[in-house]
Symmetry: C2
Subunit: 321 residues, 2 copies
C-alpha cells in the first residue's frame, strides 16, 4: 500500500518587533486555511513563528525579555492555531521561544496533532551566535544568551499524519548545517524532518570570504545533502523579507530523499508551498547505498563523539630528502 | 602571508580489462607533464587508477585476482610515476589495490611527495557492494569480497605541497557519501581532501526510485556539502567513459570551502582540471559558523558511534482522543 502525505510548508513574511502575537497568529490561521484548501494534511511553520527574531535585540536583564517567550501552549494568544487544526483536521509544526515553569529558556518546536495534543517537542541543540553584547558587531545574534542548549536530543516519533503513520523528527535553523543532527535522526529512521529557520540574507559580520549570494545555496546544500544521506523528506521553512530592517532570505523548500527540491517559495512574504510525498521513497536509500547496518563503520567515527573542537594534525617528518 | 596551492585533478578515461599497467601509467605520466605545464604542485589521480575497476568481475578463488593488486610501491610498473614526480617536482595522489605481505587486501590511496616518499596512506573504510556472487545482479559489485575494511581510520597529516604546508586527508569513492568521513577529517583541520572514484552512470540494479540523471548530482552534493561543512577544499577525481562495457560518469570536480565547484571535467577521457586554491578560505568557517569548539554538542550525537544500523522510533500514544 502506498504511503503518501500531502505536506505544506508555510513560509511567513516578516513579523515586526512592534507587532503582537495576534498579528502572526491571524496570518498563520489564514495559511492553515489555504493549506486545507490545497489538500494538505500537515503544515510546517518557521522557527520563532509568533514574534520577530528577538535575539537580535540585547537586554542586559534577561527578565526584560520575558515577553518574547511562551509559558504555556496553547495560550489565549495561540488558541486560534489549535482551533484551526481541529476545524481543518490538519496537524501543525510551530517554532516558538519556550520558558519553562522553573525558568529555563529554549528555542523550541512542537508538532501538534489535529486533536490539539502535542505529539513531539524538540529544543534547539545548535545555538549559533554569542551570549554577551558584542559592540564590534553591527547586528547582535544573542541566541546563546536567550536560550539554553536543548536537552531533548534529536527525538523521532512515529505518529499519524492524515491516514499515514510517519516517522517525524525536527531541527531548528542552524541545526540543518550540522550533519550530526541529520544522522542522529536518520539512525532513528526519520521520514520527515520539520525544520524552521530565520536566516538573514546578509552576513553583517562578514570578515572573510563568504559571498552573500551563497547563503541560500548553503542552506539548500545542507538540507538537500541531509535528506539524500538519510533518505528522508524535509520541509525547510523560513521567515522572509524585511524584519525590523534585517532582510531574511526566505526560499523555503520541500526536499525529497533523493535530495531534490520538490517545491520552493519565491516570495518575500507569507507563502504556502505544497508537495505530495511518497514515503516509499525513503526505503530505497535505507535498503541499498545507505543501508547503515551493512555499511557504517562506527569504529572509524570515534572523534565525532570523543572530541568537540578540532585538533591540529601531526606534521609530516620526511624519512629522507 | 597568503597560503596558496595550485591543485590539479587528473581524471582518467577508461582502463580496459585487457590493458596492462603500462598503458595506464603512460597516460598518467602524460597527465603529470600537463599538470607541470599548467603550474600545478600536486596532481590527484582516481581510485584504482592502475587497472580497470576489477570488483565488477567475480573470482571464486581470491588468489585468481592477485594480479589486480600491488604488493610494492614503487614497482617496476609504477616507477615511471615516481620518476615523473621527481622530474616535475610535483606530488601525486594514487589509488590502487593493495595486497600486504601478510595477505591482507585493501582499496588504498597514497599521497607521494616529489621525493618519492609516501607521505600519507589511507585504506577505504566504506566498502559498497557485496562479498558473494549475486546471480540476481546484472553487474557484480564485489568490493566487500576483494577488500577488507580499511584499518587506518581517516588520517590527516600536515605536509608540504610546493612551498605551502597543507593539512591533507583522503577518502575513496563511496566514502564521500558518508558525512562521518568528512567530519572525522574536519575534526583534524583538514584543508585538502584527495578523493578518487569509479562510479557508474547507471545503477544497473535500480529497483526503486533512483533516477539515473541524479547520480552526478548526488556525488557533487556530497562533496560540496562535505567541503562546506568542514571548511576544506576537495579534489574529487573520477574514471570516466566506457570501461569494459560499463559507463563511468566522470565529472571530476575541485570544490572550495564554500562548497562551490571551482573546476569540472566535462569529457569522458583523460582530462586535467586545475584550480588555484587560497587555503586561507578554510579559516572563515572554522572561526565562525563551523567553530566546532563553540558550537558542536557531542552529548546529542551518541547514536552516531553507539549504533551502526538504524532503529525504529517509538509509536506515539495519544493521551486523549
Amino acid at each position: 500500500m502506498s504511503r503518501r502525505l500531502v505536506l505544506a510548508a508555510a513560509q511567513m513574511g516578516p513579523i515586526q518587533k512592534a507587532e503582537g502575537r495576534d498579528v502572526a497568529v491571524g496570518r498563520m490561521v489564514r495559511l492553515m486555511e489555504t493549506a486545507h484548501r490545497r489538500g494538505a494534511e500537515v503544515v510546517v511553520f518557521p522557527e520563532l513563528a509568533l514574534t520577530t527574531f528577538f535575539p537580535r535585540w540585547y537586554h542586559e536583564d534577561l527578565a526584560e525579555a520575558d515577553h518574547w517567550y511562551e509559558t504555556a501552549l496553547p495560550s489565549n494568544a495561540t488558541a486560534p492555531l489549535f482551533e484551526a487544526a481541529r476545524k481543518f483536521n490538519i496537524g501543525f509544526h510551530l517554532g516558538y521561544a519556550e520558558r519553562t515553569p522553573d525558568g529555563h529558556r529554549f528555542n523550541t518546536a512542537v508538532y501538534v496533532h489535529p486533536s490539539g495534543e502535542v505529539v513531539l517537542k524538540y529544543r534547539k541543540v545548535h545555538l549559533p551566535g554569542h551570549a554577551e553584547h558584542d559592540p564590534t558587531r553591527r547586528v547582535q545574534h544573542l541566541e546563546k544568551r536567550y536560550f539554553e542548549v536543548g536537552d531533548l536530543g534529536f527525538p523521532v516519533i512515529r505518529a499519524p499524519i492524515g491516514e499515514t503513520s510517519v516517522n517525524i523528527g525536527m531541527m531548528i535553523c542552524n541545526d540543518r548545517r550540522w550533519p550530526e543532527a541529520w544522522r542522529v535522526l536518520g539512525l532513528q529512521q526519520v521520514e520527515l524532518v520539520m525544520l524552521g529557520y530565520n536566516t538573514p540574507s546578509l552576513n553583517m559580520e562578514n570578515r572573510g570570504f563568504e559571498a552573500h549570494h551563497l547563503r541560500v545555496f548553503h542552506s539548500h546544500l545542507s538540507i538537500q545533502a541531509g535528506c539524500y544521506q538519510n533518505a528522508c523528506f524535509a520541509a525547510g521553512v523560513a521567515k522572509a523579507g524585511d524584519e525590523d530592517g534585517h532582510e531574511l532570505f526566505g526560499h523555503s523548500i520541500i526536499v525529497n530523499p533523493q535530495g531534490e527540491i520538490m517545491a520552493q517559495a519565491t516570495s518575500w512574504g507569507d507563502e504556502l508551498i505544497v508537495a505530495d510525498c511518497d514515503l516509499g521513497m525513503c526505503e530505497l536509500g535505507r535498503r541499498t547505498i545507505f543501508n547503515f547496518a551493512a555499511h557504517r563503520r562506527v569504529e572509524a567515527y570515534g572523534r565525532i563523539t570523543e572530541q568537540t573542537g578540532s585538533v591540529a594534525p601531526a606534521e609530516w617528518a620526511p624519512a629522507r630528502r
